[in-house]
């Protein structure tokens, strides 16, 4: 590409960025307010979903966000592999779980009735947790890295119902202990929203009623190597085989909500028809290594690109999850996967704090992007405006005065005696 074209291109990009930001500001309120409700193990009628099974609870958390034209359902579950589903349905759709089928790990145990009520669906499966020995402290997972893999299917989970907040439409999946001391575990907090807003703690992600927020944390997990770091394998499921799942990194100049983070990683599920907007999983590439989050303990989340070669995936796809329960055989769908790892070089590895938390959103439509805040626009316009106004007025005043003085000067020359 020639230099001038690149400059032009950059100019255009800049222009669009600015326009987008202002567009965002104006748009802001357009998004829907939805009527949100949440249920735990909906329609549970057998002991299997009420009590613990060999120390592990079956947890299915359903958030439904009902709008004027459609309802967005978020279903999170730790049964099988840890999974989140997003489905856009007609308002008439009814969510049903056939608990016997779930117990038997059969396909199509979860459904929306009547048939054809689902307009769009997608999902994310947390398939494997990879612990790797980062001998050369590069914070990169390489094929040469010594690894120890834990499948999420093999984990046992505590009772989710104990953590549900009806008012916040949130809850936490906590795994049973993964440390010798007994206080180490994996947790996934999930939450639904009535309308637009922003998280109170870092990374303060912008959310809409079309999205569900999650926080994935590794707390005091016992490690097997000297220089252990953790990576996560995610599997993305798109309802339609013909339509692609794509990955992009968008950047924004606005880091006022997540200091020092200028990028957003975004997995996009392209719309399957004109009637829907598709979906997304998006996150800022930052992980916090202490419970009390601030810029200083924010470390990089490294992504290793979207893997679209499906056949490689089959070997270690989970055998069962609510994705299977909903869609049936995943081979008929568009499946992609991605590894992400937590931490940067020289941060002392996982053992430095024994804690890492990663936050993101799953949702319907387009992932919300941060724009310039009103405060910044006011400060900039005021601080540029005042000198400009002064220059204009001062300048014209001065020239007027000079004009006057010239004439006055003539007058004074005649009688310079006074004063």
């Amino acid at each position: 590409m020639s230099g001038s074209r690149r400059i032009l291109g950059q100019g255009l990009v800049l222009g669009t960025v600015v326009l987008l930001h202002f567009g965002q500001l104006v748009k802001g309120t357009e998004d829907l307010t939805r009527n949100v409700s949440s249920t735990f193990n909906e329609g549970c009628n057998i002991p299997f979903c009420k009590n613990s099974n060999n120390g592990s609870f079956v947890n299915v958390f359903h958030i439904s966000a009902r709008g004027q034209n459609d309802t967005i359902h978020f279903v999170w579950s730790s049964y099988g592999a840890l999974t989140g589903l997003v489905a856009q349905t007609k308002n008439t759709a009814v969510f049903r779980i056939d608990w016997e089928k779930v117990k038997n790990r059969s396909l199509n145990a979860i459904s929306f009735e009547p048939k054809g009520a689902v307009l769009f669906s997608s999902g994310v499966i947390f398939s494997r947790l990879i612990e790797f020995d980062d001998v050369s402290d590069t914070a990169k997972l390489t094929p040469a890295s010594k690894i120890k893999v834990k499948s999420f299917e093999d984990l046992q989970w505590n009772n989710f119902n104990m953590t549900v907040s009806k008012t916040k439409h949130s809850g936490v999946f906590n795994s049973s202990s993964l440390a010798k001391g007994g206080n180490g575990f994996i947790s996934l907090m999930v939450q639904g929203f009535q309308d637009n807003g922003r998280g109170k703690v870092l990374p303060q992600l912008l959310h809409t009623s079309n999205s569900s927020y999650f926080e994935f944390a590794l707390k005091n997990i016992s490690t097997h190597f000297n220089n252990s770091r953790f990576a996560l394998e995610l599997v993305f499921v798109h309802q339609d085989k013909k339509n692609k799942t794509s990955f992009s990194i968008s950047r924004s100049i606005a880091d006022q909500y997540t200091p020092a983070v200028f990028y957003v990683d975004n997995v996009k599920f392209t719309p399957s028809s004109k009637d829907n907007l598709g979906g997304y999983v998006s996150w800022k590439p930052v992980t916090y290594t202490k419970e009390e989050r601030h810029l200083g303990n924010g470390k990089l989340v490294h992504q290793y690109g979207l893997k679209t070669n499906v056949t490689q995936l089959w070997d270690h796809l989970p055998l069962y999850s609510i994705a299977h329960a909903f869609w049936g055989d995943l081979k008929d769908l568009d499946i992609t996967s991605m590894n992400i790892s937590f931490g940067i070089d020289q941060d002392g590895f996982y053992k430095e704090t024994n804690y890492t938390v990663w936050c993101g959103l799953v949702g319907y439509g387009e992932a919300p992007l941060d724009g310039l805040s009103l405060l910044i626009i006011i400060v900039i316009s005021a601080s540029i405006g005042i000198p400009v106004v002064l220059i204009v007025f001062g300048g014209s005043f001065m020239s007027f005065r000079n004009l006057l003085r010239k004439k006055k000067g003539e007058a004074l020359l005649v009688d310079p005696g006074i004063n």
């Binding site: 880091d255 601030h294 810029l295 200083g296 910044i376 400060v379 001062g394």
Partner: protein
């Protein structure tokens, strides 16, 4: 080997009274060679070497925190605000010391001892700083930076005093330029070398240990500077004895009462100084991390890009200095510097344009501003108040830096780098505002500050001619009626009016020149 008789130059090269030849000390042996003979230029250049290296350690160490920002924050697990305290604490003692540095050097220590004392402060300060890093004691590091601050700025005063006394009426401008360039080299070297030293130590050793090793290197340079101070002191003592030179003084006299007499334009210059520098220096401290995060570069590259400000100003300052001196119009240059800096901050804040470009602009802008702003003080201040004016300016600058660096660090923690850049932009707009006000204020008084050098020289000539004429008139009998005199004798009418207005009596309406003018132009008829 040269003998004492070979000394051809008996006139002193350094300042001082002419020395009677019979007082001449006999130099023998090595002392008489060109290198050791204070009368000779070579000896002076050897002294210059030590003078320049006197503050090398100080400049290298001042920006140590910036060069190792992420490492310091990580090793001590501190946030950005507490990190920036390391800079702020350096400025606090200098808010006061700017006024008393000259006094301490002249009346209490003397330059030679003062140099050693202030260099020792640097050594002690840097030691505490490095020790704090080693022991993971943040508070000790802060104390170290405070002690370091006690020495840093005053050492610069000692350095310039040495330069003045060894090079007055010689290559003084060259010497000052060389010092500035060398100090920039120190800063640049720090930015690019410190991370390398840090990384040179095994990754298995604790971060605090590696950090302290990088800082010990700074200490090594401070000790080196102190040794330079010792050698220079000895050389100077010997030279003063041989040349029978006056004792050195900074000549800086501070009268706090002068502050009351400062004109508005001087205060505006102070405000420009504060508002401009708080948008540049704290940015240097925060720049590397910001650039690495936003533009996705390596820390080493981010450090390099940030140090560009220093590299460019080292090269550009002398050139721009010549241009500014040649053209005059200082207010114009100041506003250009502010606007360019504003542009570069805006590039960094609102675009993803390569930071290299923005930092180059900032480097040039910084040089332009420095070259145009500081001399302006001399245009609006009488010579006997210059010491006070510059002291005041530096004090306010340090006060601004002390406060703003802390705020800037806190801002990054709470609101991110965009907000920080907007904050800096706001300060620069404040600087622009002050510059505009300065221009208006000055234009109202006849536009002295923004004169071109040509006009300034012409005015100077006129003033000289005028003075000459007045002198002649005093000597010669008063010569009424000659055409070359602009001074016309006053009529009784004029004298009476002058007297009336002096005692504050109200003049009749018709005697007011303003209304008279209006009347003549027909407005009142």
């Amino acid at each position: 080997m040269a003998k004492e008789n070979d000394i051809s130059e008996t006139a002193p090269l350094l300042s001082g009274r002419p020395i009677e030849s019979e007082d001449e000390e006999n130099l023998t042996g090595c002392g008489a060679t060109a290198a050791c003979n204070p009368h000779r230029a070579l000896h002076r250049y050897i002294a210059l070497f030590f003078i320049c290296l006197l503050s090398f350690g100080s400049y290298f160490c001042y920006d140590n925190p910036a060069a190792l920002q992420s490492q310091i924050k990580q090793a001590l697990s501190i946030d950005t605000q507490r990190f920036m305290v390391l800079y702020s604490i350096y400025s606090w003692p200098n808010v006061v010391l700017c006024f008393f540095g000259g006094f301490l050097i002249d009346r209490v220590f003397g330059v030679r001892l003062g140099t050693l004392i202030f260099s020792s402060f640097l050594v002690v300060g840097q030691s505490l700083f490095a020790l704090g890093a080693l022991l993971d004691l943040y508070i000790l590091m802060v104390v170290g930076r405070f002690v370091f601050g006690l020495g840093g700025e005053n050492l610069a005063v000692c350095q310039s005093t040495y330069s003045v006394f060894w090079f007055k009426n010689k290559e003084i401008n060259f010497v000052f330029g060389l010092q500035l360039s060398l100090s920039r080299i120190g800063s640049t070297l720090n930015m690019n070398l410190e991370p390398i030293i840090y990384n040179a130590f095994s990754k298995t050793s604790p971060a605090t240990f590696r950090l302290s090793m990088a800082l010990w290197f700074g200490l090594f340079l401070c000790v080196f500077s102190l040794l330079c101070g010792v050698i220079l002191g000895l050389m100077d003592k010997r030279a003063a004895r041989i040349l029978k030179r006056d004792s050195m003084e900074t000549g800086e006299v501070i009268h706090f009462r002068d502050i009351l007499d400062f004109p508005v334009s001087l205060w505006l210059i102070f405000f420009i100084c504060v508002t401009y520098y708080v948008a540049v220096f704290p940015f240097i401290g925060l720049g590397p991390a910001f650039i690495a995060d936003k533009f996705n570069t390596s820390i080493a590259y981010a450090n390099f890009v940030t140090s560009l400000v220093f590299i460019i100003s080292a090269v550009a300052s002398p050139l721009i200095g010549v241009v500014v001196d040649y053209t005059g119009k200082n207010v114009f240059w100041v506003s250009l510097g502010v606007v360019m800096t504003l542009a570069s901050h805006m590039l960094l804040a609102f675009t993803f344009a390569p930071p290299l470009l923005a930092m180059c602009i900032m480097g040039v802008a910084y040089s332009v501003l420095a070259c145009a702003l500081w001399p302006m003080v001399a245009f609006v201040t009488p010579e006997n108040q210059l010491g006070t004016a510059y002291g005041c300016m530096q004090s306010l600058q340090n006060l601004g830096l002390a406060v703003v660096t802390i705020i800037a660090g806190g801002l990054v923690d709470s609101s991110g780098y965009l907000m920080l850049e907007v904050f800096f932009c706001a300060w620069l707009c404040g600087a622009l505002l002050c510059t505009t006000l300065l221009y208006l204020n000055d234009a109202a008084k006849g536009g002295n500050l923004n004169k071109s050098t040509k006009e300034r020289n012409r005015d100077k000539k006129i003033a000289e001619a005028q003075a000459e004429k007045e002198r002649l008139q005093k000597e010669l009998p008063v010569n009424y009626g000659t055409d070359d005199s602009h001074i016309t004798p006053k009529s009784a009418f004029q004298l009476r009016n002058r007297y009336l207005s002096k005692i504050g009596a109200k003049l009749p309406q018709s005697y007011n020149p303003n209304t008279l003018a209006l009347a003549r132009h027909g407005f009142l008829q």
